[in-house]
């Protein structure tokens, strides 16, 4: 995959704004450098499926075992928990998928070890997720926590869909209350034949036959 110096989002959006107003002139040499580095020959920095690998991204998440601790979940439940945590190596995968797919990743195995230790230390899934969130920040979760502004993420699609449904309902009601223009009266009554292989006459006969068949 490509290996380049990434722009931060703020830098990028700034540059894009500049581009829109004509200030971001093309930088040919810079583009070529990006291209040259686009694919690497060894030796060179390691990559994930989605860009440079952040090999030093691992941060220990260690908590003392609870008194009389015993394993808080089964392996299957632990794997499900790992599906909720985002590997920090720079890939887009969760911890379970990354550690079982990309065996060059130096980040997901220690994250997995931390999870195993926390499970053995008697911590519940919620407590483990919280511990990782405190260490890495919210980005370590595979989906946003349902709180505060994040609710907008979850609710907006359904609000938009609801609003669109209401708008369509209102539109249909208005259409039904408003008589159709006289010029269009015959339009809908025309044969639903189409630009396929059948002539309108054949289509009409077929439609009639299908209708007869349903009685």
């Amino acid at each position: 995959m490509e290996r380049t110096q990434r722009y931060s989002r703020r830098e990028f959006l700034g540059a894009m704004g500049a581009g829109v107003v004509g200030l971001a002139l093309p930088d040919r040499a810079r583009g070529q450098d990006s291209q040259q580095d686009g694919q690497g020959a060894s030796p060179g920095p390691r990559t994930t499926m989605s860009g440079p690998m952040r090999e030093s991204a691992y941060r220990p998440v260690v908590l003392p075992p609870k008194p009389g601790a015993k394993s808080s979940m089964s392996d299957v439940q632990r794997d499900a928990l790992e599906h909720q945590l985002h590997c920090q190596c720079g890939c887009t995968l969760d911890v379970f998928t990354c550690r079982t797919t990309d065996f060059t990743c130096p980040v997901s195995p220690p994250m997995h070890s931390d999870i195993v230790n926390l499970v053995l230390g008697g911590y519940t899934a919620v407590e483990i997720l919280d511990a990782f969130r405190r260490t890495y920040g919210e980005r370590v979760l595979m989906s946003p926590v349902r709180e505060g502004f994040n609710w907008a993420g979850y609710v907006a699609p359904f609000v938009a869909l609801g609003a669109a449904t209401v708008a369509v309902g209102a539109l249909i009601r208005r259409w039904r209350e408003t008589p159709a223009p006289a010029s269009a009266a015959g339009v809908g009554a025309a044969s639903p034949a189409d630009a396929s292989g059948a002539t309108p006459d054949e289509m009409a006969r077929l439609e009639a036959a299908i209708r007869d068949d349903t009685h």
Binding site: S34, F103, R139, P144, A156, R176, S183
Partner: protein, 678 residues
């Protein structure tokens, strides 16, 4: 040839500028000579882009490592297929490939409309040339595949091993063919808006192009899923990655358009909506490209972050501004010609279908862009992964599946109670039977249960429609069932091709629901050791390690683990998974090791084996996954594409009869005057 290619690129750029200028000027001044000059420039532009493309292909095949692009993406030991596909493996080449497709489509659009849609064509040519101008400018001024290295290299870097897969050789071209095809309907929409000729004329011209786009996007997305499944090794085919989402967005709005266009054709309704959908589909295709090339969102598929991303952002803003202005200033030209008579009609069902498709597109786009929004508002980086998209989109998808079955059963204009009862009896019965059987068999995953129940309903709909149609033809023409079925499809391509697409949708939903029953196991096996697991169907599998082998292949060193599986005591074919270390022509390692997945594929499930690591000379770490119904994703995609092909297959001139609103409004009924004032 390389110099000729680079020179051709610059000439094509000038011609694109000329075509754009002459076409718009010719349209505005009603000067036929300028219009013709613009159209000829479109053909010439295509010719020069073809020469430029041949130049790059020649450089790739001749291993001309003086070119930075060739050195970056190929090596002398790269297999021929991937040397050819390296054309679109990097950013600069893929932009040229995009331009090649765009100019080819432009030339076809101009040629096929040389005696039709003459009032629209200057603006169509002008818009196509403007978009081409943009792409060629990004290549010439931003990122050229003909740029040279300032030093000599003995061999190139080679291609990323993950791209050395047949799926990756064919997936991007299909996706590009789909993305780029959205430009032609967009150009017609712009032309119709400028000329205020917003009746069925422009729709008739763009329908097939919209189908072409949908067809290639369907194939491209399916191939992309297949590539991810067999190459990336994580056991899935759709990760809601931003670039995957970007390919889905224009597909969703394009699908909505292909449904709503029927309402305008038959009833003269949804005229504003159709314009918005055509424009949105194009803008979403550009948005997808922007996401891929800007690096603004982290993705598995990102190209290098380069200034080209900024160009795409600018194009997006400009195109959005221009089309918004045109739509707003022409709203009164877009009033419906007929009104909806009933909430229970096919047109109403199509409206709901459109709301859902666009709603899903919005939710996918919202989730894709939400990390940026969150960072802008809260300054906090978040991850929006599969759990979010599944939570939001699964309910919407199930609703859409239900509408897939409901829509075709309802009559146009107004459905009566007796009509509904008659039409729904069999499909509802099928749904109840499927749901009850699965419940009795112990299925308790409610998403899957609902999906299969609805799949039963939609299948009932489709089979009922075919049954009635075949029966009618048998009675009318005395045909045998096979002939009647074939002729039914051939002579009613839009209707029955559409049902075949719906059958593909059912297959896909069944496959997606199968994910609920996926089972994964991580095991460590030395040679001769065995592992036993139960699959989702209750069969007992025993896997015995046949050991680890090492060998050299064409451009890689391979370490492979082989498993000998037994199912319920019966021997099954060997499954082998590989670790590959690609090497250059001097035998030096290139890139990091990659995995080749071992798959035992059946319609019921895949046994998916990944060699994840080696802990000793003969001890392998292996992940074994039972993936139910994955096969149905690939074949569901193929069935959808087949249905799309049937729908868009051209009719003979003899039978090009058309009814409904389109027949009333088509040029034959209301001839267009060439060169008439907009």
């Amino acid at each position: 040839m390389t110099v000729l290619g680079e020179l051709s690129l610059w000439i094509a750029l000038l011609l694109a500028g000329w075509a754009c200028l002459m076409s718009f000027a010719g349209g505005a001044l009603r000067r036929q000579d300028l219009i013709l000059s613009g159209e000829r420039a479109v053909y010439a532009m295509w010719g020069f882009v073809v020469v430029a493309s041949l130049g790059l292909w020649t450089a790739l095949l001749q291993h001309d490592f003086t070119l930075r692009y060739v050195a970056s993406y190929t090596s002398s030991n790269l297999p021929r297929l991937y040397t050819l596909s390296a054309f679109w493996a990097g950013q600069a080449g893929s932009m040229l490939f995009w331009s090649l497709i765009l100019t080819t489509y432009s030339a076809i659009a101009v040629w096929t409309n040389r005696s039709r849609n003459r009032v629209l064509m200057p603006y169509v040519s002008g818009t196509l040339a403007a978009v081409t101008l943009f792409f060629l400018a990004t290549i010439c001024f931003g990122d050229s595949p003909f740029a040279r290295l300032p030093y000599d290299v003995i061999d190139g870097n080679g291609m990323n091993p993950q791209l050395q897969n047949p799926g990756m050789a064919f997936h991007p071209p299909n996706l590009y063919l789909g993305y780029v095809a959205t430009t032609v309907p967009f150009a017609f929409a712009i032309a119709a808006l400028i000329t205020r000729r917003l009746d069925a004329e422009w729709l008739a011209a763009v329908r097939r192009w919209a189908l072409v786009s949908w067809f290639f996007l369907t194939i491209g997305i399916t191939l992309g899923m297949w590539w991810a499944y067999v190459e990336l090794g994580w056991g899935g085919y759709w990760a809601w990655d931003p670039v995957e989402n970007a390919s889905l967005l224009p597909w969703l709005t394009g699908t909505a358009f292909l449904h709503s266009i029927m309402i305008q054709e038959k009833r003269g309704m949804l005229r504003k909506w159709n314009v918005v959908l055509v424009v949105s589909t194009f803008l979403l295709a550009i948005l997808g490209t922007f996401i891929t090339r800007s690096g603004v969102i982290q993705s598995v598929h990102s190209f290098a972050q380069s200034p080209v991303g900024v160009w795409f952002g600018a194009l997006l803003v400009i195109a959005l501004s221009v089309t918004s202005y045109l739509v707003i200033t022409r709203l009164h030209n877009l009033e419906a010609k007929a009104e909806l008579e009933s909430m229970l009609s096919r047109e109403a069902a199509f409206l709901y279908n459109n709301v859902l498709l666009v709603g899903i597109a919005f939710s996918v786009m919202w989730g894709t862009l939400f990390p940026i929004l969150s960072e802008a508002v809260r300054g906090t980086k978040i991850t929006v992964g599969p759990p979010f998209f599944n939570a939001v989109n699964v309910p919407l998808g199930l609703l859409l599946l239900a509408l897939t079955g409901i829509g075709p059963l309802i009559a146009w204009r107004r459905a009566s109670v007796s009509n509904l009862r008659r039409q729904f009896a069999v499909p509802v019965f099928a749904a109840v039977v499927v749901g009850a059987v699965l419940l009795v068999l112990g299925m308790r995953e409610w998403h899957a249960l609902v999906a299969y129940t609805l799949a039963g309903f939609v299948s009932g709909t489709i089979l009922q429609e075919f049954y009635k149609g075949v029966g009618a033809r048998m009675r009318m023409h005395g045909e045998n069932p096979v002939v009647a079925l074939l002729r039914l499809i051939v002579r009613n391509r839009r209707r029955y091709g559409g049902y075949i697409v719906h059958a593909g949708v059912v297959m896909l939903f069944c496959a997606f629901a199968g994910l609920a029953f996926k089972r994964e196991f991580d095991v460590t096996l030395a040679t001769g050791q065995a592992f036993t697991a139960t699959d989702p169907y209750g069969h007992e599998w025993r896997f015995v390690s046949d050991g680890i082998s090492r060998f050299d292949a064409l451009n890689r060193q391979v370490t492979a683990v082989t498993l000998k599986p037994w199912r319920d005591g019966r021997a099954m074919p060997l499954i082998e998974s590989e670790k590959r270390q690609h090497v250059d022509s001097r035998g030096q390692p290139t890139f990091e090791p990659s995995t080749a997945v071992g798959i035992y594929e059946r319609a019921s499930q895949d046994v998916y084996v990944v060699f994840t690591g080696q802990t000793g000379p003969d001890t392998a770490e292996i992940r074994i996954t039972f993936n139910p119904l994955v096969w149905w994703v690939w074949y569901g995609g193929m069935v959808m594409a087949l249905g799309g092909l049937i729908v868009m297959w051209p009719a003979s001139d003899r039978t090009r009869a058309q009814g409904g609103y389109a027949a009333v409004m088509r040029p034959a009924a209301r001839p267009a005057r060439a060169g008439a004032a907009p």
